[in-house]
């Protein structure tokens, strides 16, 4: 009986708790007024997608893919350099940079701006009822594929430049307090997210677009970026496989009959099918700062046609080209300067040479991949190449060599690129080791892809492969020390594969420790 009493008590008590629980569950009446999300239609999603593409360029015509990203990718290499007066760029070129270099902050912000736009767009697209608005799930998936491709591209850059970075794959509406000070996420985790994005993109993006929309991401672009990522990760078999998938699509090299490599970068060549993904630029007056890039005016010097001389190229690079190599024509071997003198590359660097007073010896050469049209025209005329077909061929050649050593297909791929520029074909017999063929491929990449943003990645990958993964800086050091004004600037204590996190980010993000840049700067 006592027990029953006790049990009853317990039951009553729990009943009471139940009631109290309900009481507690009651909320007070509240009233709020909202403006509903205006972005509910497929056309709004389309605008969001376009907005995401637009973030590939930033800071007028200078930021991100319109300029500064290539400072970080090209300056540290042995090809492109800076003028002595360019302080921020000069630091990167001469490896004297620190975390306060404004280029780091600029590119960091641009990258996360693109990431943020893709995240917001992704949520918007997901929330739009496509089928209910006379559209299709296929278009919805295409739009999702486009922004996820762009997000993967942004993270490719972020991880190439810094390694571990904060990983955001959600829109701001889902932010929690901890997202205000995002911690760094391991590079491999970010890469897994990129692979997921790119696999979605390759599945859902179309193979091509109408002529008016050529700059949109295709499934080929997603595959090519995936190949680039696999290559960076040392997953060569996968890289070879992905490159091959791009090769059987609607891309090809611009043939000699079409004008070859030189015409690929001609100002009237706006949408060649060698371009897999580009930053689309407009040549229209007034497009500068809106839909353009600054490579044209920055690539050449003042006396060429009033350029700003921000990407001078070492004469030693010019010297590497065979005379018949059509790619050499994308460098200023000889030109008539504004004031009448002839500027010519000296004979010892393979140039035409010439004698004073008619001819001045060139100190540098300048790239003509982004031809500068008209004096004072800030608007870059050409699209900025992000991925092109020659790169894909060379990626597969490299990957196959890493997987199984010198092989006929790698040579064939290499030869496709070489013969297009008027060079003789190579034979497999000339390459007895994997190392030899690798060196040849990287030299070929260098000559094919200079000033296209591949330099830094390539040097690290070359070193990594050549040292069996032990020393990604092997080739970097070998190539760039001879070009430094003072070789002692190079420090073996610095991991040059990772740039310092921008000072602004360290100061505003409490998750970053003060010593986060240890080993990244001198």
């Amino acid at each position: 009986m006592k027990n029953v009493y006790r049990i009853l008590n317990v039951a009553l008590l729990s009943g009471l708790i139940l009631v109290m629980g309900c009481e507690k569950g009651l909320e007070d009446e509240t009233f709020s007024v909202y403006d509903q999300n205006v972005l509910t239609k497929p056309e709004h999603a389309e605008q969001a997608v376009r907005g995401a593409y637009a973030a590939l360029k930033d800071n007028g015509g200078f930021g991100y893919y319109a300029g500064h990203l290539y400072w970080l990718y090209e300056y540290p290499g042995e090809v492109v350099t800076t003028t002595g007066t360019a302080r921020q760029g000069g630091q990167i070129d001469q490896l004297t940079y620190d975390a306060s270099n404004s280029t780091f902050n600029g590119v960091w912000i641009s990258i996360f701006k693109l990431i943020s736009r893709t995240n917001e767009a992704e949520e918007l697209i997901s929330n739009v009822d496509y089928t209910g608005n006379s559209s299709t799930v296929a278009l919805q998936n295409q739009n999702l594929g486009e922004v996820r491709f762009l997000r993967a591209l942004a993270y490719y850059d972020a991880t190439s430049l810094w390694g571990a970075v904060p990983l955001f794959i959600k829109s701001s509406s889902k932010f929690t307090e901890s997202d205000e000070n995002p911690p760094l996420t391991e590079q491999s985790v970010i890469e897994d997210a990129m692979i997921t994005d790119l696999q979605f993109a390759e599945q859902h993006l179309p193979q091509s677009y109408a002529a008016t929309e050529v700059a949109r991401a295709t499934s080929g672009a997603a595959k090519a970026l995936l190949a680039r990522l696999y290559l960076r990760r040392g997953e060569f078999a996968k890289a070879a496989e992905k490159s091959l998938e791009v090769m059987n699509k609607n891309y090809d090299l611009r043939t000699q009959a079409e004008g070859g490599i030189k015409s690929l970068f001609a100002t009237n060549n706006r949408s060649d099918n060698e371009f897999i993904f580009v930053l689309k630029s407009s040549n229209e007056a007034g497009s500068y700062g809106i839909n353009s890039n600054s490579f044209g005016i920055n690539s050449v010097p003042w006396d060429f046609n009033r350029g700003w001389n921000n990407f001078p190229i070492h004469l030693q690079f010019y010297a590497q080209f065979a005379k018949e190599d059509a790619r050499r024509e994308l460098l200023t071997g000889i030109y008539k300067a504004l004031y009448g003198t002839i500027v010519s590359v000296p004979k010892e660097f393979g140039g035409p040479g010439g004698k004073a007073p008619d001819t001045t010896a060139a100190k540098y050469v300048y790239n003509l991949k982004y031809p500068h049209v008209n004096n004072y025209n800030y608007a870059g005329f050409n699209n900025v190449v992000i991925i092109r077909y020659a790169d894909v061929l060379l990626m597969r050649a490299e990957a196959l060599n890493e997987v199984s050593g010198p092989n006929e297909e790698s040579i064939t791929l290499l030869n496709q690129v070489r013969t297009r520029s008027g060079l003789p074909a190579l034979t497999l017999a000339a390459f007895t080791t994997k190392d030899k063929l690798r060196d040849e491929i990287f030299e070929e990449r260098n000559k094919e892809l200079f000033m296209e943003g591949r330099k830094r990645d390539d040097l690290f990958r070359w070193g990594r492969s050549a040292s069996n993964g032990a020393n990604p800086l092997l080739k970097f050091k070998e190539k760039i020390v001879p070009r430094l004004l003072s070789p002692s600037t190079y420090s073996d204590a610095v991991d040059y594969t990772k740039y310092p996190y921008p000072q602004n980010e360290i100061q505003s993000n409490t998750s970053l420790e003060a010593n986060v840049n240890a080993g990244r700067v001198r």
């Binding site: 027990n3 029953v4 009651l26 009233f31």
Partner: protein, 471 residues
């Protein structure tokens, strides 16, 4: 173990008892009385006169809104959201730039609670809607017009479907990029329209859109998608089975060599189509199967838009009335056989006096008194009138019932409609003079609205305002 068995059974019994008691509303009401939690008023950006109110209640309940203009006693009600704790309620009947107050009422059936009163301020409409100006309201008539609402549409681009109150104030609208060629208020309280680019002639369109008052598209048929293979024009309505019918543009090849045409000459004519609400084509008819083009001596001139059908109306018996402007005729079509049962009008099957003849008529329909009524645009004598007949289809006699001739200034060459309202008045939409009128049966103008746009039709919208829900 044995010792524990008893208490366990007891606990189970008690818990069972609690669970049983919980089934009783009175117990629930006592323990957790119905209470309103968060009320979120959502401004819908694409529409200035439409508001969503999300209401949370602590228990599943029914809920609705009541709302009223500040300093007014006329209370309006929303639809009822049933048996949920997360309600979405809509305010769909407001005028622009007006202050309202609203209140939430929630009920579990046994207990009802009211929220506090909250303000709602509407802003002025910015979309392309025309203005409607009440120019005249007969003092003896104003009382009768209270709580009357009308649906009309703007057929130019950008178009819109618009509901106005008896003062001509817009209380509901939906903008469209294309023109809204004609609209119809269905018994389900939805707005059904033909939508099409301005350049599609003859009140034609390539889309049929049905929308509920919250702006949700409930039916959307498009040419080239599903079963819709022809443009529609002039008329879209629902029949008593809830299917959608409309006029179509159709074409057929005829040998017109005898009148100077070619062996395979295309003649464009009109058809009727019935779609289910899901867009399945259920029935189709074309006049080109029933009228010989060679009967028209001027067929070469007319072959691109022969006879110009401008209204179709499905009667209780399932058969159709179709109005042909250029023939000055109304036909009755047998649904089962597709045969033309009779033709009324000029050179028709019914002998008509001079005064009974109509021309370029619109909106031929059957009234509740089973009379055939139309707007006779009257292009022969430039007088527009509402006209109705009592027909004896067996003996083919037509007796005029209604003949309300409008003053010359209301003459409209094309478009428009006339139909009964309140049983003993007639409402007119007159396109050329850009006017809506209500007259008594003698033609006295009781109500007049001027429109800053081109309307096609004006229809009353019964059931637009909701009665107070009963809890």
């Amino acid at each position: 173990m044995q010792k524990l068995k008893k208490p366990l059974i007891l606990i189970a019994l008690i818990l069972g008892g609690i669970a049983l008691l919980w089934q009783l509303d009175s117990v629930k009401d006592y323990v957790a009385p119905i209470q309103i939690g968060a009320i979120d008023l959502v401004h819908v950006p694409e529409n200035r006169l439409r508001f969503k109110v999300n209401v949370k209640t602590n228990r599943n309940s029914d809920a609705y809104l009541k709302y009223w203009k500040r300093n007014s006693k006329d209370t309006l009600y929303s639809t009822v959201s049933k048996n949920t704790d997360s309600h979405t309620l809509w305010i769909v009947n407001t005028t622009g730039d007006t202050r309202y107050t609203f209140q939430v009422i929630a009920s579990t059936g046994t207990k009802t609670v009211l929220s506090k009163k909250y303000p709602l301020e509407t802003r002025s409409i910015y979309q392309a809607t025309p203005y409607f100006t009440l120019e005249h309201m007969d003092s003896t008539f104003s009382k009768e017009m209270e709580n009357k609402y009308f649906l009309t549409q703007i057929l130019s681009e950008p178009g819109s479907a618009v509901i106005i109150d008896h003062k001509g104030e817009i209380v509901w609208y939906e903008p469209f990029k294309k023109g809204v060629k004609v609209s119809h208020w269905t018994p389900e309280k939805t707005v059904l329209c033909i939508v099409g680019a301005e350049k599609i002639p003859s009140s034609g369109g390539d889309e049929i859109i049905e929308m509920d008052l919250t702006g949700k598209v409930v039916t959307h048929l498009q040419v080239g998608k599903g079963d819709m293979d022809k443009l529609v024009h002039h008329e879209v309505r629902t029949d008593k089975d809830g299917n959608i019918y409309a006029l179509t543009f159709d074409k057929k090849l005829f040998d017109l060599t005898s009148v100077g045409g070619v062996k395979q000459d295309t003649v464009k004519g009109d058809g009727i189509v019935i779609f289910s609400r899901e867009g399945k084509k259920l029935w189709e008819w074309t006049m080109l199967d029933h009228l010989d083009p060679l009967s028209d001596p001027e067929i070469m001139k007319h072959k691109k838009d022969w006879v110009h059908a401008n209204s179709v109306y499905r009667e209780e018996d399932g058969n159709f009335l179709i109005s042909y402007r250029d023939l000055n005729q109304i036909w009755k079509i047998d649904f089962k056989t597709g045969k033309v049962l009779w033709k009324l009008g000029e050179k028709g099957d019914f002998p008509l006096t001079e005064d009974q003849l109509f021309s370029a008529q619109h909106f031929a329909h059957t009234t509740v008194n089973n009379e055939l009524m139309m707007l006779d645009n009257g292009i022969k004598n430039e007088t527009t009138r509402a006209l109705s007949f009592k027909l004896d289809t067996k003996n083919k006699t037509a007796q005029t019932v209604l003949d309300i001739k409008l003053p010359k200034e209301y003459y409209t060459t094309a478009k428009g409609n006339a139909q009964f309202i309140n049983g003993d008045k007639v409402v007119f939409s007159l396109t050329d003079p850009r006017s809506f009128l209500i007259t008594d049966l003698k033609g006295k103008i009781l109500w007049k609205i001027l429109i800053g746009g081109d309307p096609y039709r004006l229809e009353q919208t019964p059931g637009f305002t909701l009665n107070k829900p009963k809890f």
